[in-house]
Symmetry: C2
Subunit: 299 residues, 2 copies
């Protein structure tokens, strides 16, 4: 029997139920008995930042993250200024909604460029410019290493180790890291780097690596239990590193987006219990066919 | 003007011209003025190992690699014995054709398993069993780290650093590593790990990372110059590590496979000069539209 307790740390990232507006997401969380939500800037802007901040505060939900800032790899002074301005706006929004952190996806190679070390250098430089702004607003920046499938076009920050190297010059409450199982599960350094991340884990996100990979790599993520990731191991590692925050489920997947969001949330809760929390208890992963059935019924 | 000299190190991996039989590949290399070929076991078996060995010896071509052994992650005694037997056969074939090395793709997670550390442990254990067999046949085993996009279903060995960790207990002439730009280009540790690989680089392979990634990830590789990889940097790094061997072009790509193989070889030569060797000289990458034109004309 599911107790309220077991779902205490579960957070619904808005991307998992992409068709919902911000109020629909808040209502959906409350209906499902969740205590936390990961908010995206686009639906927040659509509803209005001030109104959204009020809605979230009134709901009693925690805001486990605001997604997302970043995209700071552009070349030249104009790109730099635009990136700083955009991220300053994101920092203010994170402060307004009381988000635990602002997730930063750093951006890929600029069009036509093959200079990966230079792009990484710009990330370090602009991060240093953003830290004092975030500090002034009491917002923790959270560097998200992205799976190397996205290095070229989305995130030149490819490993947790690299994220920690970037974060190290700053205080943990200024710059943390995101541990997203989809992005880091393959890393032979995972155990060592999560241990090294102790005190800096700003967000722990879960979703699965499924094969064959869907054709659109941006929508390639799977519901926990549908793929190859050992969530029990990942949770044990962040636990050992002292992380006690929310566990956010963020899934970009066209089939799930086409399904009824309430059913997606129900499935997410079940899989969270079976594959993330349950598996942490007894080592067994329940690989039921519920997602397949859900997708089959709705797509 | 192209001198024969500039193409001295260029090797055609058979996968780049996948429709060619072994004799067609040998003839194609000779017609194109190449001195080296990367051989695959399947077309070699089709022609006959003994006859193939004679054909290759008579051609005067070097065999820069035999692809491939590996797939040593299976669970249980039967899987272990089958893997050792299969790799012993591959080692004998590598010796028969005088290949510089036998490339090992270690294999992914067994069906239904999510235990990545255990799979990696089996790779280490079976590698230790294969080394004496390879030594007896005078064959160097070459561990190929695979892009993390393949960790689940093809190669749990995900980084050059991990490959070097596995190789270190053995002599360099027993266990080397493959540096394939497609698999390693994204790695923030690339410079440090290639330097560490000095004396152990058994094979240097080039092909490009293209976006958007083709739907079939196994055929996602691009002709040099069509994607995001800085080949000049990669070549400079392996040069600095003392690598003087062949530079093998291995491209899995459905469009190129549908094109006339002689035209693919001609394009490969041009791009090798422009993007690999040429770029190493002057820092400029020629991003012509030749592949697009070729593919457009034939598909």
């Amino acid at each position: 029997m599911t107790t309220r307790n077991q779902l205490d740390r579960l957070s619904l990232n808005q991307k998992t139920t992409n068709s919902w507006t911000l109020p629909e997401s808040v209502d959906g969380c409350l209906r499902a008995g969740l205590q936390s939500i990961g908010v995206w800037r686009e639906p927040l802007a659509e509803f209005g930042v001030e109104a959204g901040a009020r809605l979230l505060a009134d709901s009693g939900l925690r805001v486990s993250s605001l997604c997302r800032g970043g995209f700071i790899t552009g070349e030249g002074e104009a790109a730099s200024q635009a990136a700083i301005a955009e991220n300053t706006a994101a920092i203010k929004e994170a402060a307004a909604v009381g988000a635990d952190c602002l997730v930063l996806v750093v951006g890929g190679l600029p069009a036509g460029s093959r200079d990966l070390p230079a792009a990484r250098g710009r990330v370090a430089k602009r991060l240093a410019q953003l830290v004092p702004i975030a500090r002034d607003h009491g917002v923790q920046l959270a560097l998200e290493p992205m799976h190397p499938i996205y290095t070229a076009d989305r995130g030149v920050l490819a490993t947790l180790g690299e994220a920690l190297d970037l974060a190290e010059p700053f205080a943990p409450e200024e710059v943390g890291v995101v541990v997203d199982t989809f992005h880091v599960w393959w890393d032979p350094q995972l155990e060592a780097q999560i241990a090294r991340a102790a005190g800096r884990i700003a967000s722990f996100q879960v979703c699965d690596w499924i094969t064959p990979l869907p054709a659109d790599t941006l929508l390639a993520r799977g519901m926990m239990g549908d793929g190859h990731i050992d969530f029990a191991r990942a949770l044990a590692l962040v636990d050992a590193a002292g992380y006690t925050g929310d566990i956010e489920v963020e899934i970009f997947n066209a089939d799930l987006w086409a399904a009824d969001p309430d059913e997606v949330v129900a499935l997410m809760k079940q899989r969270y219990l079976d594959c993330v929390i349950g598996a942490a208890n007894d080592g067994a992963v329940a690989a039921s066919d519920v997602s397949g059935a859900l997708v089959g019924a709705t797509s």
